[in-house]
């Protein structure tokens, strides 16, 4: 799941380079949202991650 963050960012950079602006923006925001959810899962102990 953590690797998915980097995969989504890779896709967003490629979308930006090939001039798909809205796709690139959507993918970056998706990645940030996923990262925030993972971080929230830690902060509330919902995901039971041993940091």
């Amino acid at each position: 799941m953590m690797a998915a963050l980097f995969v989504v960012l890779t896709l967003s950079m490629m979308a930006a380079f090939y001039h798909y602006r809205n796709t690139a923006i959507a993918l970056v925001l998706t990645s940030l949202l996923l990262a925030t959810l993972i971080f929230w899962g830690h902060a509330t102990d919902e995901l039971k991650i041993n940091w």
């Binding site: 799941m1 953590m2 690797a3 963050l5 980097f6 995969v7 960012l9 890779t10 967003s12 950079m13 490629m14 930006a16 380079f17 001039h19 602006r21 690139a24 923006i25 970056v28 925001l29 990645s31 940030l32 990262a35 925030t36 993972i38 971080f39 899962g41 830690h42 902060a43 995901l47 039971k48 991650i49 041993n50 940091w51």
Partner: protein, 168 residues
């Protein structure tokens, strides 16, 4: 795009690439695997680079700077959390220090500097002045470098954590 703004956007991509390469060096040569919080900070830095790439490929725009700000905020909060986890006197720090500060402290400093840089750019940006994209060899090489680093991070994170959120 004004030349100085182009230069700063390219420069920030190269600076972030250097930082992420150094992090890879620590990971591979000193055998210090990144913790989940460290990985989230790397995501924040790559989000900043993605915003800068958008500026370079589509011309500068407040929405692109918004993405840079959101990435910096996310990364900064994660770095602050990691600082807080190790701040009590007597508790050990995590990872090797660089110039006396831990890596997550430097990471927080970088995110704060990025927020300040975006604020300056937005302050000096003229209204309704979304500018033209830039296409030269420095931009293309910056894109290639940061893309390779992102792919490398994806592979190493998958190798370390598989399909989990790491640390479990």
């Amino acid at each position: 795009m004004p030349r100085i703004e182009t230069l700063l956007n390219v420069l920030i991509i190269y600076i972030l690439a250097a930082i992420l390469l150094a992090a890879f060096g620590v990971q591979l040569f000193l055998n210090e695997k990144p913790c989940p919080l460290c990985l989230l900070q790397r995501v924040g830095m790559l989000g900043i680079a993605a915003g800068a790439l958008l500026n370079l490929n589509f011309g500068s725009s407040p929405s692109h700077y918004g993405i840079i700000l959101l990435s910096s905020l996310m990364g900064g909060i994660v770095a602050l959390r990691q600082i807080a986890l190790h701040i009590c006197p007597g508790s050990p720090s995590f990872g090797i220090p660089v110039l006396g500060l831990s890596l997550y402290t430097w990471s927080f400093f970088i995110f704060v500097c990025t927020i300040a840089w975006v604020a300056l750019n937005l302050f000096t940006m003229k209204p309704n002045s979304e500018t033209a994209p830039v296409n030269d060899k420095w931009v293309n090489s910056a894109f290639l470098l940061i893309l390779l680093i992102t792919v490398a991070n994806a592979f190493s994170t998958f190798q370390q954590c598989r399909l989990s959120t790491c640390g479990e």
